[in-house]
């Protein structure tokens, strides 16, 4: 039960972070990705701010035998850099560049009530479902 509460509260923090950093703003994202235009470095500061916290804290946390509310850490098990990983990341990159939305910001952006964001999220869910059906 406690797991659901912590998930909810941490989700709120994450959503606030995405909004305050303007990561939810496709104009900022595309401004960062557009090296040939008027380059906007904001996104680099978002990444730097996040990694400044996760790099030291993850190291510290993963020294523990288990998390506080579960019996084990649930970490990715694959270690191979395979074609599937690179191909998937490439497809994701094209979509990210096309609209300036990645999954977290798009979901948080639903709070704007903008129909375009709802369309993107619906398509994203469809894309995930399609990938799960066709390639496991």
């Amino acid at each position: 039960m406690l797991i659901f509460l912590t998930s909810l509260v941490i989700g709120v923090l994450f959503g606030l972070g995405l909004t305050i950093s303007e990561m939810i703003n496709p104009a900022r994202v595309i401004g960062f990705l557009d090296l040939a235009g008027r380059w906007d470095p904001t996104l680099a500061f978002v990444m730097a701010g996040a990694l400044a916290v996760t790099l030291p804290l993850f190291r510290f946390i993963l020294r523990r035998p288990c998390p506080l509310l579960d019996r084990q850490f649930h970490l990715p098990t694959q270690s191979q850099i395979d074609r599937r990983l690179i191909f998937g990341a490439a497809i994701f990159g094209v979509g990210w560049g096309l609209a300036g939305f990645c999954p977290g910001p798009a979901l948080a952006g639903l709070a704007s009530g903008n129909p375009g964001v709802f369309l993107f999220v619906a398509a994203m869910v469809g894309g995930q479902w399609l990938a799960a059906k066709t390639s496991g």
Binding site: G17, S79, A90, V94, C102, G104, A108
Partner: protein, 139 residues
Amino acid sequence: MTEANIIGGLLGGALIGLAAALLLLLNGRIAGISGILGGVITSRQRNERFWRMAFLLGLVAGSGLYRLFYGALPLQLQSGLPALLAAGLLVGFGTRLGSGCTSGHGVCGLARLSPRSLAATITFITLAMVTVYITRHLL
């Protein structure tokens, strides 16, 4: 485009990092949004779906709270509906196939010094930059 938002970027980024660290410390989970969403769509276990839905609900509530206290969200769409539809499909398909997105690979994976996440992050940022160059300067 307006000036860079350095303070907001650093502060918001740190908040994202803090949330990711708390999810790992408390629940033992990686804060990768595409993976969390993916589990809601395809997991057969109820508990797995529930914590993920709670997290995503919080995510929307977080920006909803911002909207409540500060007014409109900083969100300016840069593309029409057909492009949003295509982009959504590509983002959903690609993140599932590539096991992660900006948060999972970019924030959590890099913090774990995962070579897979580094390879994925370089790939999606490069392809996104190429796509922006083609759509905003060539077409």
